[in-house]
Symmetry: C2
Subunit: 87 residues, 2 copies
């Protein structure tokens, strides 16, 4: 593989950001824990806290990101995911 070819290959790579959230209606214990801790820390007026995951990765094949989410990153039964691709 020539250096030029290698550079082309590298140029296909993208940085992807996957936001994973508990589905509406699914209990979110981490979110409830945050809400429970707020008053003692003096924070008022904060509500509807939901805690999810943020996964960032480099991939050469952005077309397979949805499959990657379904199979590994998220649990589609209880979580929604959103894929953002940059570069």
């Amino acid at each position: 593989m020539s250096p030029a070819r290698r550079h082309d290959h590298y140029a296909q790579g993208v940085r992807a950001k996957v936001l994973i959230r508990p589905k509406d209606g699914i209990l979110d214990p981490q979110g409830k824990a945050v809400e429970g801790a707020l008053p003692a820390l003096g924070f008022d007026g904060v509500s509807h806290v939901r805690v999810g995951r943020l996964v960032e990765l480099d991939t050469d094949d952005p077309d397979r990101l949805e499959e990657l989410c379904e199979k590994l990153l998220a649990n589609p039964l209880i979580e929604d995911y959103e894929i953002e691709v940059s570069k």
Copy 2:
């Protein structure tokens, strides 16, 4: 409190999204676990996986979001955070 007053109060609220990531150079076991699982699932060309947290909440006081992150949502010693406010 009149309905109009209540509506004004509600209108101050914003939905905030906080992205929390392990700092560069900090070990990320969840990211390594994802990377380790990829070959067996047939995913090639995925690298630099980092797993963080996504926190979404409603707040009446967006000026205190940074303090909220420092005190409760993130561990500033090992994590970076990014605040996005919408509405």
